[in-house]
C-alpha cells in the first residue's frame, strides 16, 4: 500500500506534535497534579504547532528555499525558527503564569528559557523536514538518471541496428544509373538487390532474430552491389556449413560487419581486397568468421561505436554465451591465399537466445 506524500505529511505532523505535547502534558500532570486546563492548553499547543510549521512549509514552497545554497538558507531557517518559538512563548508564558503560578519565578531568564525550549522543538521539525527533502530529491535524481541511461541505450541500439550506410546507398544508386546504359540486365538485377537490402534493413527493427540463410542472402545482395561499384577490386568468398543455415542470428548484424570490412578494409586499399564469410558449428555453437584485407586501426576512430554495439547486442540477446572479437590476423605463411594484412572478426552464437529460454520458462510456469 502506498500512502500519498500529502497523507504522510499530515500523519507525521499530527502524530509528532501529539506525541511531543503529550510527553510535556504528562510531565506537568506528574509535577502539579491533574488540572483540566493542562489538557486544553496541550490541545491548543498541538494546533498551534501544526499551524505554525505548516505556514513555514508553505513559505518554503512559495519561495523555493530548498534550491537556495546553504549559506543563504541557514539564516532564513534560523530566523523562522526564532519567530515560531517566540509566538509559541507569547501564548504559553501568560497562560502558564495563570495555571501554574507556583512554577513561575520572576527572573528575566524565564522568557529566554521558554524561547529556547520551543526553539529546540521547531529546529528539530525543520531539520527533519529538510533532511527528508534532500533524501527524496536525491532519490528522484537517481531514478531519472537510470531512466535516461536506459532510453539512450535503447535509442542507440535502434539507430545502429537498422541503418544502412547512406554513403553506400547513394553510391549504389549512382552505379546503377551508369549501368542503365551499359548493361540494362545488370541494372535490373542491381535494383532488385538494393530493394531486398532496403527491405531487410527496414524490417530489422521489428524482428529479434532471423535465420542465418536469410541474413546471408542480405549479405550476398550487399556484396553484389559493392561488386558493381568496386568491380575487380573486390573479391568475395562465402563458405557455409549446411548445418548452420537455420540458426537464429540478429538481423543485419552480419551485414553491418561486412559493410565495416569493406568500408575500412577494401575501400581504403588502392589495389582492392577481399572479404570472406565462413560459418561452422563448434561444440554446438555457431561460429562466424569474417576476414578481410586491412589493418585494424584505432578502434575509437574507425567504427568503434559500431563494433561496441555489435558486442552489446549479442550480450543483450544471448548473455555471456555469445562472444564477439575483432583482431589483426598474424601472417600465416602456409595460408591458401596471400592477401597481405588481414583483419578477422569472430562471432560465437549459442543455439538459442536467452529471450527464448525466458519465454519457454514463462510458458511452463503458466
Amino acid at each position: 500500500m502506498k500512502m500519498s506524500k500529502q497523507r504522510i505529511y499530515w500523519f507525521c505532523q499530527l502524530f509528532g506534535w501529539t506525541l511531543l505535547i503529550l510527553v510535556e502534558y504528562i510531565a506537568y500532570v506528574l509535577e502539579f497534579g491533574y488540572n483540566p486546563d493542562f489538557l486544553y492548553l496541550a490541545i491548543a499547543n498541538i494546533f498551534l504547532g501544526i499551524t505554525l510549521t505548516h505556514l513555514y512549509r508553505l513559505m518554503i514552497r512559495r519561495w523555493n528555499w530548498v534550491r537556495l545554497p546553504f549559506f543563504r538558507l541557514a539564516p532564513r531557517v534560523l530566523l523562522s525558527v526564532f519567530v515560531m518559538a517566540v509566538i509559541m512563548t507569547m501564548l504559553n508564558l501568560p497562560i502558564d503564569r495563570i495555571i501554574v503560578p507556583q512554577r513561575m519565578v520572576n527572573e528575566p531568564w524565564l522568557v529566554i528559557g521558554y524561547i529556547m525550549s520551543f526553539g529546540k522543538t521547531m529546529l528539530t521539525w525543520v531539520l527533519t523536514y529538510t533532511a527528508y527533502h534532500y533524501v527524496e530529491e536525491n532519490r528522484n535524481a537517481e531514478i531519472e538518471r537510470i531512466l535516461l541511461k536506459t532510453s539512450i541505450r535503447e535509442t542507440e541500439a535502434k539507430v545502429l541496428r537498422s541503418q544502412l550506410n547512406p554513403h553506400f546507398v547513394f553510391n549504389a544508386l549512382n552505379s546503377i544509373r551508369a549501368l542503365v546504359y551499359e548493361n540494362p540486365t545488370k541494372a535490373q538485377q542491381s535494383i532488385t538487390q538494393l530493394s531486398n537490402l532496403l527491405r531487410n534493413s527496414l524490417l530489422a527493427d521489428r524482428r529479434k532474430t532471423v535465420e542465418l540463410r536469410e541474413e546471408i542472402k542480405t549479405v550476398e545482395d550487399y556484396l553484389a552491389l559493392e561488386k558493381v561499384r568496386y568491380e575487380e577490386r573486390l573479391t568475395c568468398r562465402i563458405e557455409l556449413d549446411g548445418r548452420t543455415l537455420f540458426w537464429q542470428v540478429p538481423p543485419m548484424m552480419l551485414q553491418t560487419l561486412v559493410e565495416n570490412a569493406i568500408k575500412h578494409g577494401v575501400s581504403t586499399a588502392i589495389g582492392g581486397g577481399f572479404v570472406e564469410v565462413k560459418s561452422s558449428l563448434v561444440a554446438d555453437k555457431l561460429h562466424i568468421l569474417i576476414r578481410n584485407t586491412g589493418v585494424l586501426g584505432d578502434k575509437e576512430a574507425s567504427g568503434g561505436f559500431g563494433l561496441a554495439n555489435t558486442a552489446q547486442r549479442l550480450e543483450l540477446l544471448y548473455g555471456p554465451d555469445a562472444q564477439f572479437q575483432i583482431f589483426q590476423e598474424n601472417d600465416a605463411p602456409d595460408g591458401p591465399h596471400n592477401d597481405g594484412p588481414v583483419v578477422c572478426a569472430d562471432i560465437t552464437i549459442p543455439a538459442q537466445s536467452e529471450g527464448i529460454f525466458r519465454r519457454n520458462a514463462e510458458a511452463k510456469s503458466l
Partner: protein
C-alpha cells in the same frame, strides 16, 4: 575548358562523362582512379577544372588538393553522402555535386566555374606564365580542421608565421596551414607579396597607410586594421620596391 575526372569507380566516371557530353565547352582530357594517378596528370596536362570524388582509396579528395604544387585548377567535388565534407563546403564558395548527379545542378556548377574563369582572363593573363610562382589571381586550397576554402591569393592580406604553421588572413577568416613561411615566400609572386619581417608576409595591394617607425623601420597599416612592422633591413628593400 580542359577537364579531368577523378573518381575511384569506373561506373561513376562513365556516368559523369555521359552527363558532361551535354556541355560542348567541357573537354575531358583524362580520368584518374586515385590521387597517385591524378597528381602527375594535373602537373602535365594542366587542367582548368577537376571533378573530384572525396572518398577514394589512398589520399582522399581534400588531401589530393593539398598535395598539388603550383596552381590549383577549379574544382567541383562529387560525393555520394558525406556529412562532414558537406559541412566543410557550407563556409565558402566551394561547389559540390551529390551523386547521382542531377543535370540541372551540374549545369549550374559549370556556369559558376565559367564565370570564375572569365575574371582573371581579362586582367591577369601575364600572371599565369610561370607555373610554380603563385600570383594574386591564382587560388589555393586551404583546409583547417573541418572547414575548407578555395581562396584567391589576391584576397589574402597577411601571412603570419606561427611555429610550424602559417596563418592566412582573408575576409574574416584566419585558417592555419601546415607550411613554413620561408617555403611559402618562395612560392609567392614577390611583386605582390612582401616579406615584412621574420614573422609576416604582407600583400602590397592591401596597404592603407605607411608610417616611419623606430630605428629605421616602417609601420604598415593594412585595410582591415592589421598593423605590421617592417624591419629595418626589409624597409630598405621595401622602399626600393615601391621607389619611395
Amino acid at each position: 575548358m580542359k577537364t579531368l575526372i577523378i573518381d575511384d569507380e569506373r561506373l561513376a566516371r562513365n556516368e559523369l562523362r555521359r552527363l558532361l557530353e551535354n556541355f560542348p565547352k567541357i573537354q575531358i582530357i583524362g580520368e584518374a582512379a586515385n590521387a597517385d594517378e591524378a597528381l602527375p596528370m594535373i602537373e602535365e596536362l594542366e587542367p582548368d577544372l577537376l571533378f573530384l570524388d572525396i572518398q577514394m582509396p589512398g589520399k582522399n579528395g581534400f588531401e589530393l588538393l593539398q598535395a598539388i604544387e603550383g596552381k590549383t585548377p577549379e574544382v567541383i567535388f562529387t560525393t555520394a553522402f558525406d556529412e562532414y565534407a558537406i559541412k566543410a563546403f557550407e563556409f565558402n564558395a566551394l561547389d559540390y555535386l551529390l551523386k547521382p548527379v542531377e543535370l540541372a545542378r551540374l549545369s549550374e556548377a559549370i556556369h559558376r566555374v565559367e564565370e570564375e574563369q572569365h575574371i582573371p582572363d581579362n586582367n591577369g593573363t601575364s600572371a599565369g606564365t610561370s607555373t610554380k610562382i603563385l600570383g594574386e589571381n591564382d587560388q589555393v586550397f586551404v583546409k583547417d580542421g573541418e572547414k575548407c576554402w578555395f581562396v584567391k591569393l589576391g584576397k589574402v592580406r597577411l601571412f603570419e608565421s606561427m611555429g610550424n604553421y602559417v596563418r592566412l588572413y582573408f575576409d574574416d577568416q584566419k585558417p592555419l596551414v601546415l607550411k613554413s613561411l620561408n617555403a611559402l615566400e618562395d612560392r609567392l609572386n614577390p611583386t605582390t607579396f612582401f616579406r615584412a619581417n621574420r614573422k609576416h608576409i604582407i600583400n602590397l595591394q592591401w596597404i592603407e597607410k605607411i608610417e616611419p617607425w623606430f630605428s629605421g623601420g616602417l609601420l604598415v597599416t593594412l585595410r582591415g586594421g592589421d598593423k605590421i612592422e617592417i624591419s629595418r633591413r626589409q624597409a630598405i628593400r621595401f622602399k626600393d620596391l615601391l621607389s619611395l
